[in-house]
């Protein structure tokens, strides 16, 4: 039996951050990863490879639209092996980097599947090796939610991991689930030549975001995609020789259709119940989430949990911050997770990003707010890059003008959202944002313009009429 001061289960962004921070603070750390490479879903089968492919898609799409700029490119020929290699190279580089960082910090990396066997021990791979720990950080992540009745045994039915493999480019691809992951993969496959159909149970794409900031994306892809079925349920999925036969139930959707491939992206489930948490006495809820306090402590004094396994949103940047808190608390720091917001980004074309409260949330919570919406059609910078569909929406407290949330749809929305996130943490009000001089012409100006719209001080547009 080996002994370690801090044991970290999982090497995704939450896990490796926790391990590295604890090591930097002087702890002797063991990091357990069940996959071959460090980095978890984010680096191997999530954020990073998808962004590599999305960049490829962007280049293809830019070339296509260059015609409007007076530049003509021939139709591209796609070398799918080359596309895949670029993605793999980036992933290899990053995961190799994590490995090197682990080594430099003398973090003991163990390959295997960890299971708790007591409050201070885990076994690796069926109990051959037992590691005893003083403190533990669970960063076991999440996995793709699979609908049991769907024929996943057929190669043509994919989850997001399979889709990132890019084994071929189907002629007709059905994406089940119009959330961030489904729409990002649709963007990639559409650029590579697939005809895309999206089916979503809710009444809008990306249901957690406000409808008005998803709308520019929806309008754009509605034209280029074969079909988008909202309020529609997939009732049956069967593999046949011709393809995957799918039955729909919903207004506007056909009763049945057959696709060359299907991507099922209906969400992710936490792995809390898969690590023998009960043996350590850790409370896991019925969905598989482990509950923690603001110091990331579980109900068991010396066991912490971070990242996807502790709750929504399942985002790497949330995990990283939580991981630092857990490692610091273990090392005796009075650390705590008190971020006011965690921004969300869909790397679609155009991108959709939001931070703080959404308008739906404010309505549901009965908070009185003031809204400032700036359409990018009035942004010189947006027009100069050939796009006009974007929108920036600021939400402010109607009593004191304090920023409550922001939603952006448009090119680089994912980058632009950072300013609003900082503004929320700093407690800025609409005047603070409006009075901050933003460079011209930039897309970032739209944030200040949204604040000016709310304030009524805008000059680039007619200010909205004051409602009494």
């Amino acid at each position: 039996m080996t002994h370690t001061q801090v044991l970290v289960i999982g090497s995704g962004p939450g896990g490796y951050t926790a391990a590295f921070r604890a090591a930097d603070l002087g702890k002797e750390v063991t990091l357990i990863e069940r996959h071959d490479n460090l980095g978890g879903v984010c680096l191997n089968v999530g954020c990073i490879p998808s962004k590599a492919l999305l960049h490829t898609a962007e280049v293809i799409n830019e070339a296509k639209t260059a015609e409007h700029l007076g530049v003509h490119f021939e139709a591209p020929s796609i070398d799918i092996d080359g596309v895949r290699k670029n993605k793999t190279d980036i992933v290899t580089k990053l995961t190799g980097g994590i490995k090197a960082l682990a080594k430099a910090r003398k973090v003991n990396v163990i390959a295997g599947y960890a299971q708790f066997i007591s409050t201070n021990q885990v076994s690796i791979e069926g109990g051959d090796e037992v590691i005893e720990f003083e403190d533990c950080i669970i960063a076991a992540g999440s996995q793709v939610t699979k609908i049991p009745s769907f024929p996943f045994e057929d190669d043509r039915v994919m989850d997001s991991t399979d889709a990132l493999e890019l084994s071929d480019i189907p002629k007709r691809l059905l994406v089940v689930g119009g959330g961030i992951i489904g729409l990002e993969m649709a963007t990639v496959y559409e650029a590579l030549g697939s005809e895309i159909t999206i089916v979503e149970l809710a009444e809008q794409l990306i249901p957690s975001a406000d409808k008005d900031i998803v709308s520019p994306l929806f309008k754009r892809i509605k034209k280029s995609y074969e079909n988008i079925y909202l309020n529609t349920k997939v009732t049956k999925m069967e593999a046949s020789k011709k393809g995957i036969k799918v039955d729909f139930e919903g207004k506007g959707a056909p009763e049945t259709d057959t696709f060359d491939k299907v991507l099922v992206s209906v969400g992710r489930s936490p792995n809390g119940a898969l690590i023998g948490a009960d043996k350590a006495g850790i409370l896991v809820d019925e969905r598989g989430f482990i509950t923690t306090d603001r110091q990331m402590k579980t109900n068991v004094e010396h066991i912490y949990a971070v990242g996807d396994v502790v709750g929504q949103p399942m985002l790497a940047h949330k995990a990283v911050h939580e991981a630092k808190v857990a490692a610091e608390v273990i090392c005796g720091h009075k650390s705590g997770f008190d971020a006011l917001t965690i921004p969300s980004v869909a790397y679609t074309d155009p991108e959709v990003a939001w931070t703080g409260k959404t308008e739906k949330e404010l309505k549901a919570e009965g908070i009185s707010y003031k809204k400032g919406v700036f359409p990018w059609a009035a942004s010189g910078r947006s027009l100069s890059i050939g796009r006009s569909e974007g929108v920036t929406k600021g939400l402010f407290d109607s009593t004191n003008g304090k920023i409550l949330g922001m939603g952006i749809c448009g090119t680089n929305a994912g980058e632009l959202i950072a300013e609003a996130t900082l503004a929320i943490e700093m407690g800025c009000d609409m005047s603070d944002i409006a009075l901050t001089v933003h460079a011209h012409p930039t897309l970032s100006e739209t944030t200040a313009f949204a604040a000016e719209m709310a304030e009524g001080t805008i000059t680039d547009l007619m200010p909205p009429r004051k409602r009494k």
Partner: protein, 501 residues
């Protein structure tokens, strides 16, 4: 040879019909001695029940959700040790295992902690009783050495099962104070030393008891305070609740300087303290008597009646006795005079019961005499004043006051008075308004004797005059009664021979 033995629920205290919330083992599992086998939960705590010996689980007799009580069968174990197979093993049932029983029922012995030079220190107060539920850090006894008195806090919460000490006992470091049945709290954070009664628990302490709670309280962040992330971090590190701070930045933003000023204030006391001011903690007596006095003063409707008494006769007698070598203070005369008058006015020698509806009139004449000590005011009781001679009273007063100043009096010596006298006559002053010592209903305040000109019909005669103030509880005593009491007292003191009646 392996034998099958029953494992039943030991006596874990208040544990009738306790719910099984978790079964930690399955048939076929090998368990080591002290491995947890099931988790129980009552309304107070969650506890894990350890296996009394190692072995292989043969059968599990309880299910999650089931309610079990002492001696309920939990599991059967194929033991690895030789013992008669028919023997029923509770994790520690049976008389022979009584000592072990203490271990699993978590009986903790609390001993005198090593807090410095404690050798043969007297227990002056026991602040709790057997059966009391006490919380962590609650004071359990008061010790008083020649240097200081100190209250010893309980290292953890629980129910007191035994207090072997009594007031007056002398204790040293390591001596047992009390035994208590612990509630699940981390014993290691305790201030006092804990010695568990059996090795099993000591073992657990070495491994540091693992705290498992039923619920994680996840507080959502919704700061009303206007502060940036770095200030929130600093506040967290300093343990400051930002909602208590007024921000001096733009729009009320809390700045780092605001936070630091706030912390400085906290450290230096309740508010900003100027230079040249020293913080002096109140003595234990002052803290205790202060609380009592505040309560008496605020709860009793006081009326204070003043009078001046011609004590020429008394003074003449005293001078005469002094010449003979017998020193008598005016106080002993006053005490006897008061008893004389109390006999005529029994409602002044009484206390109001807790309901406030009945007067408990005393048939004995015990007087509280307020005394000054270096640590503060105390009120020892002189019993049966009416039966003692002036000389006996004078001797007793001297003895009691010497002891009060030097070593302290027992609690019993300060209880049981029916009426109190507070004399500042030796110091000065023309009058003062004494505070009634609840539950008594009246108190006499005595100031300094003065030579006053008294008109005798022909001339002003220099006369020794004693100023008296009688405070009484107006809920019990009317103004007329108060005035009559004073008039009668005046008569007795003026004609001092009346105390002989």
């Amino acid at each position: 040879m392996s034998t099958t033995k029953n494992v039943t629920l030991p006596d874990i205290g208040d544990s009738d019909q306790v719910e099984v919330i978790e079964v930690l083992i399955a048939v076929g599992d090998h368990v080591e001695e002290n491995d947890s086998i099931i988790t129980l939960e009552n309304d107070k705590a969650t506890m894990e029940i350890p296996a009394p010996f190692s072995g292989t689980v043969k059968s599990v007799e309880v299910t999650v959700g089931e309610k079990i009580s002492k001696d309920s069968l939990i599991i059967t174990l194929d033991g690895t040790e030789d013992s008669p197979s028919e023997e029923s093993y509770s994790t520690n049932a049976g008389t022979e295992a009584a000592e072990e029983s203490a271990a699993t029922s978590n009986i903790i012995e609390v001993v005198v902690p090593d807090i410095g030079d404690i050798d043969q220190v007297e227990v002056i107060e026991i602040l709790s009783a057997v059966g009391d539920d006490i919380s962590k850090e609650q004071s359990i006894i008061t010790l008083e050495s020649d240097k200081a008195s100190m209250e010893i806090p309980s290292p953890l919460a629980g129910k007191i099962t035994k207090i072997p000490l009594s007031v007056g006992d002398k204790v040293s470091v390591g001596d047992l104070i009390l035994s208590l049945e612990a509630k699940s709290e981390n014993a290691n954070t305790a201030k006092a030393t804990i010695v568990e009664s059996t090795p099993t628990i000591i073992d657990a302490t070495e491994q540091e008891p693992i705290k498992i709670v039923d619920e994680v309280i996840s507080v959502a962040t919704s700061p009303e305070s206007h502060a940036s992330p770095s200030i929130r971090k600093l506040a967290r590190e300093l343990g400051v609740d930002l909602s208590n701070i007024k921000g001096n930045g733009q729009k009320g933003r809390i700045l780092s300087a605001d936070l630091k000023d706030y912390v400085k204030q906290i450290i230096s006391g309740s508010g900003p303290i100027e230079d040249g001011v020293e913080v002096v903690p109140l003595s234990r007596i002052k803290k205790l008597s202060g609380k009592h006095l505040a309560k008496c003063w605020s709860e009793i409707p006081h009326v204070t009646q003043f009078d001046s008494v011609n004590i020429e006769q008394m003074e003449e007698f005293r001078t005469h006795q002094k010449a003979r070598g017998v020193k008598l203070s005016p106080l002993v005369f006053i005490m006897r005079a008061v008893v004389q008058v109390l006999k005529q006015h029994p409602h002044f020698n009484a206390s109001l019961d807790e309901s406030g509806e009945n007067l408990l009139v005393k048939q004995y004449y015990n007087l509280g005499i307020a005394m000054d000590t270096p640590d503060g005011l105390i009120v020892p009781v002189i019993r049966d004043v009416g039966k003692k001679s002036l000389i006996e009273l004078a001797d007793e007063l001297t003895e009691v006051s010497t002891r009060a100043r030097e070593s302290g009096l027992s609690k019993a010596e300060m209880q049981g008075a029916g009426f109190t006298i507070s004399s500042l006559g030796g110091i000065g002053g023309t009058q003062f308004t004494p505070i009634i010592n609840s539950p008594e209903v009246a108190i006499l305040g005595v100031s300094r004797t003065q030579i006053m000109p008294v008109w005798n019909g022909d001339a002003f005669i220099p006369t020794a005059t004693l100023p008296l103030a009688l405070s009484y509880d107006h809920r019990v005593i009317d103004g007329v009664q108060g005035a009559k009491f004073m008039a009668d007292l005046n008569q007795v003191l003026k004609n001092i021979m009346e105390i002989l009646l």
